[in-house]
Subunit: 140 residues, 2 copies
């Protein structure tokens, strides 16, 4: 399968990018000549990682009948100091909220995504040291 | 330097993602339980690549006084057949439009981004076979 993505330069550092599912606007921060009118390209990589593993987990939780009230995840991604700057250390935190959370099934879902299903995780492992943790916020 | 990105699950396969420069909405295609109401996570990686190298080139062209009328770029990215599916072959096409295009300087800008400055290119090289080409569309 092939994915096609097209970027058109608008002005200054701004690009309109057309990708499967819609459009996005990318811009740089002021410090490097941008106007902060769009998303930063590099951190789109991190958004890709969160979206990919997040969707895996949601669909696995549904299959395992281990639904939760709320689910959030975040990443802290550390860049190298030297050019070309890339992500060298990436830590993903999964947070699940609900009543009587099925901790074992939830942990299993996260492991399956991280180790087996998420293609973006697989790509990140080729250039970064990746790690993750799970938080359970149970109302009971 | 660290980048922080946060994703919040909304419903079904939809996530709201907050990253440097703004928000985006991610969703899966219908085939895998989504509703096509947002961007596909995996191809955000390709958007990252285009945005990163595109901004490099724009700023190098300005420095070299080799501005163009229009600049577009696109990628065809091929996924592996097996899970976890990742990009194994990635081809970037740079297209420059204008009068009396300064071909040598433009080619130099692209090479500098691909080989030296673009961190996303550096990450892609770790998991994919990457290549690129340049098209000049000169009015004269």
């Amino acid at each position: 399968m092939k994915h096609k993505v097209i970027a058109s330069w608008e002005e200054k550092m701004q690009f309109q990018i057309e990708q499967p599912g819609g459009f996005l606007k990318a811009d740089a921060e002021e410090l490097v000549g941008g106007e902060n009118k769009g998303l930063r390209p590099k951190s789109l990589m991190v958004s890709a990682l969160l979206g990919c593993t997040g969707m895996d987990v949601v669909s696995l939780l549904k299959k395992m009948r281990a639904e939760v009230d709320r689910f959030e995840l975040h990443v802290e991604a550390e860049l190298t100091e030297e050019h070309p700057k890339f992500y060298k250390k990436v830590h993903v935190v999964y947070s699940f909220y609900g009543n009587d959370l099925k901790r074992e099934k939830i942990s299993k879902s996260v492991s399956l995504s991280v180790e087996r299903y998420c293609g973006v995780f697989e790509m990140f492992r080729q250039f970064a040291e990746v790690s993750h943790e799970i938080n359970f916020i149970d109302k009971n």
